[in-house]
Symmetry: C2
Subunit: 316 residues, 2 copies
Amino acid sequence: MQKIVIIGGGSGSYNLLRGLKRYTQDLTAIVTMFDSGGSAGICRDEFGVLPPGDVRRCLLALSEESKHNLLLRQLFSYRFDKGTGLSGHSFGNLFLTVLKEITGSDIEAIEAAAQILKIKGRVLPVTLDRAHLCAELEDGTIIQRETNIDIPKHDPNLRIKRVFLDSPASAYCEVIDAIRAADKIIIGPGDLYTSIIPNLLVEGVPEAIKDSKAKKIFVCNVMTKFGETNDFKASDFLGEIHKYLGSSCVDVMICNDKQVSAEAERRYAEEHQFQVEIDKDAIAKTGVQLVCKDMIFEPDVIRHNPIKLADAIMKI
Amino acid sequence: MQKIVIIGGGSGSYNLLRGLKRYTQDLTAIVTMFDSGGSAGICRDEFGVLPPGDVRRCLLALSEESKHNLLLRQLFSYRFDKGTGLSGHSFGNLFLTVLKEITGSDIEAIEAAAQILKIKGRVLPVTLDRAHLCAELEDGTIIQRETNIDIPKHDPNLRIKRVFLDSPASAYCEVIDAIRAADKIIIGPGDLYTSIIPNLLVEGVPEAIKDSKAKKIFVCNVMTKFGETNDFKASDFLGEIHKYLGSSCVDVMICNDKQVSAEAERRYAEEHQFQVEIDKDAIAKTGVQLVCKDMIFEPDVIRHNPIKLADAIMKI
C-alpha cells in the first residue's frame, strides 16, 4: 500500500483526502497551525489550543462515511448561526477544544477525535509551537496574523513579497517521520500563502521533504486568489513553492486544463480572480514533469474533483 | 426483568439511575422540562430547544461506563470555565442543542445522543410543550421561571403555597405508555418543587400514575432546602406529592434514617438546611408503608447512595 503524505490545510486538503482515502489507507495529512481567524482563532486565543479548523476538516474528510457515522460527521461539521457567543463557532472546533481541555494535550485531543470519528489515516499538526503567520508586501508593509492575509484588509493589488512566522516553530516529530517514510508527498492544493507555504516555514519540514525518497507532487491551484496570487501563472506557483522549499525538489506538477464554465469565470472575475494559465514552456525549463488533466468540479465554487485528482496522483 | 420508571430530574435522578442500572436494563427516566436557568436556560431561550440539562444528566447516568466510552462521557459532562459566550455552558447541553438543530426534533436529538453515549434504558422528556414553572408564595407573590424558584431571589423564609405552569403542557405519549407498563414507579429523589412536582403538573401524568398497577414509591429528601422546603418533615414531603398527584396513591415511602455527620450538619445549617425528621406517626396515618434505611453518602454534599437506594427499591 502506498504511503501518501499530503501537506496543506483548508478545503483543498479536504477534497484531496476524500479522494485519496478510496485508494490507500496509509494516508497522513500534515496541516498548517497558523489559522488565526473566526471560530478557530477564538479557540486559539481564548483556550490556548492549536487552531482546530484545519485539523477538523481533515478529520472529517478521513472519517468513515457510513450511515452509522453520519450524525457524528454532521455534528463535527455543524456551524452555529445563532446563540450569544456561539454564532459563527464550528461545533467541531469546540469539540476539539474541549478534548484538549480534558486530555491536556493537543495531540491526544486529535487522536481522541480521530477515534470517535472512526478515521482512516492520520492527521498531524505541522508543529506544536504557537506562532503567527506574517506577510511582507511589495511596499514593505508587514501584515500580522493569518486571517489578515487570507481576508486582506490592505490593498489587495499589492503582491506578497514573502511570508514568515513571528516566532520560530519546529516540526512535530511525527511529521518528520511521516515525510521520511512516504512514497508520495503531495503539496497542495490550497491557498498558496495561507494554507500551503506556512507548512514550509516550519523548521525541519523543507529539509525532510528534500531528503525524502518520496515522489514529490505539487498540485497547482485552479484559480488565482485576489490579494495573494494576482496574475500568477502555473510557473509562478511552482516558483514560490521551490523558493520556500529551499531547493527545486518537486518531481511532478499537476494542473487542471479544463476551461471553467463561462458563468463561473464571470463570477470569479467580479472578485478579480481568474483561471491559472499553464505556461508549459516556463515549467519545462524547471525540469518538473507536468501532468495536465480535467480535474475540476463546479458546485458553487470551483474545486478540485476528489476522485479525478486522486486518480491522477495514484497514476504517477 | 422489572420495568422501572423514575420521575424527576437533577442530581437525584442521576444518582438513582446509576444505582438502578446495575439491577435492571428496563429503565425509563422521565424528566422535567421546565429548567430555565444557566446553560440549559440559554439553550432554551436562544435555540428554542427543550432545556437539555436534566436529559443530559440522565443520559450520562445511563451511559456505558467503559474505558472506551470514557472520553465521550467526559465530553458530555464538561462545563466551560472560560471563553467569551462559552463560560458556564455545559458542552453536553450544546451537544444536545446541535443534535436538535441537525435532526429537527428534540426526541430524535435525545435518541441520537443516547446512541452515541451507548445508554441502557431510555430518557423521556415529560412533555414536548414549552411552558414555564411558576410558584405562588404564602404572601401571594408569584415567582416566574424555574431558576427563580430554585435559586430564590425573593425572601426564602416565605413558604411556597403552590407551583403551576404558565401554560398547559401535555404528557409526551411515550411517557404515558411507560408509566402504564411499569412494575415500579419511583418518584424522586430531587428538589421537591423544581425537579419532582413539575412532572406532576403535566396533563396526563398524575392520572397515568394513579391508574398504573405499578408499585408507587416515593423517595424522600435527606435534607430540607431553604426557600423550598423549610422545616418540612417527611410527612410534609409526602403530603405535597399526594396534593399534586390528586390522590393518595403512593404505596411506599423510602427515608434515610442515618444521622448525617456533625460536620455536614454544621455546613448545611449555615445555609438554613436541616436533616429531614421522619415523623413516623404522621406517615402511619396515611397508610403509606415506610422504609427507613441508611441510604446516604457524603462527598462534598449529602446525596443518596446509588447502590443502597437501588437495593432498597429492588427489595420492595
